[in-house]
Structure formats: C-alpha cells, structure tokens
C-alpha cells in the first residue's frame, strides 16, 4: 500500500533562513509524489510534484523538492523563508500509481511557522 510520512508535526524557522519540511514515502511501483500547502480556512494549493525525470523539482513560490530514491524521501525546501510561508504543508502520494485518476494519500501534515 502507498503511504507517506511527515515526521515533524511542526517546523520553526526564522525569516530569511532556509527551510526544510520532511517527507518519506513507501510505495509499490513508481512513486508519484506531491506537495500541497493549506492556509487557515483555505483549500489545498498545489506546490510541486515528482513524476519522473530530474530529482530536483521546482515549484511555486520559490519552493523546491528533492526526490531521493535510496532514502525514499521527498523533502520540501526553500532557500529563504518568508513569514507568509507559514502554513500547513502536506506531502501526498498517488494511491494507484498505474492509474492517472488515482486518488491522493496524504501525510499528517507539518505546520510551518516562520518568525520575523
């Protein structure tokens, strides 16, 4: 069964510092991995995805993620955090990799807090 794990409930960083939000995955077959961000009382916004190709994926708002097959990780990163990046971040994997209509399976989420 497909699953993702986000080992940190919360990550605190100072504005201007680099940030990392961790995600590890467990899949059978090829991993289709995603990052979404959720602001309070808002929907989920797509940040980036890894399907195939380069291990370093660039996404919206200056975020990037590195796919590491040997460590089964897909950590989200940003070189310089902004206070406005404070939100809840979800890592997700496609539940049925062989089907493009496959639903998403989410991690528990990591709350990112960026302090001025």
């Amino acid at each position: 069964a497909q699953s993702v794990a986000q080992p940190e409930d919360q990550v605190n960083v100072a504005e201007g510092n680099p940030l990392t939000v961790k995600c590890t995955y467990s899949v059978s077959g090829n991993p289709y991995l995603f990052w979404y961000v959720q602001y309070p009382n808002r929907g989920l916004q797509f940040l980036l995805k890894y399907i195939t190709g380069d291990n370093l994926v660039k996404g919206s708002y200056g975020f990037e993620a590195e796919f590491n097959k040997s460590q089964t990780s897909f950590h989200l990163k940003k070189p310089s955090a902004l206070v406005s990046d404070s939100a809840l971040y979800f890592c997700a994997v496609r539940g049925l990799p062989e089907r493009s209509q496959g639903n998403l399976i989410f991690g528990k989420g990591t709350k990112l807090s960026v302090k001025p």
């Binding site: 989920l44 797509f46 209509q101 639903n103 998403l104 991690g107």
Partner: protein, 115 residues
Amino acid sequence: AAGVIQSPRHLIKEKRETATLKCYPIPRHDTVYWYQQGPGQDPQFLISFYEKMQSDKGSIPDRFSAQQFSDYHSELNMSSLELGDSALYFCASTLTGGVGTDTQYFGPGTRLTVL
C-alpha cells in the same frame, strides 16, 4: 484562471438531517474527487468520478452517495448526518490524459457543522 468552485462554503445541519454539497470542476476537467478533512486531520479520500462514472471508492460511509453530471459537476449527498461528519469537504478536479493530468486542483472546501 478558473478554479474549482464548491458550494455552499459553510453549512450547518442538525443530526439526522441531510446535506448536499456541490462541486464545479475547472472547465474541461473530466475527473472529480471528494475528500474529507476532520479537525486537525489530513484529507481522506471518499470517492472519485471519471467521465460521469464512479472511478474509485475510498472511506465513504454508506450514508453518503455522490454522482457526476453531464456538465461534469458533482454532488455529494449525505444523509442521517452524525456529529462525526463535521469536517471540511474538499472537491478536486483534473483532466485525465491531459497536460498536468497527475495534478489535482482543489476547491476551497465546504465546512460542514453537524449540531
């Protein structure tokens, strides 16, 4: 760009009542997903539709049903509501087989409160 539209945004119901949530996917998207997010929880997949046919089924209670109509909008019908049904219900859409087919775009959600 047009996004996924959900209505209503907020809904308050009593126990044992029924509720209908509506989802209007991004234009030309043919696949719709429904997710439930309880307080402090991650979103859980309920059900999906592709080209107006049920595609997959997740942890959707038997009290819930859904369908996708000819204009691709979808409705989630919830009956005999329970306190535990209080949650944020998200709809997401994608164009299967199209550019970016793997990406699900989410609506703002409907917050259902059952009293």
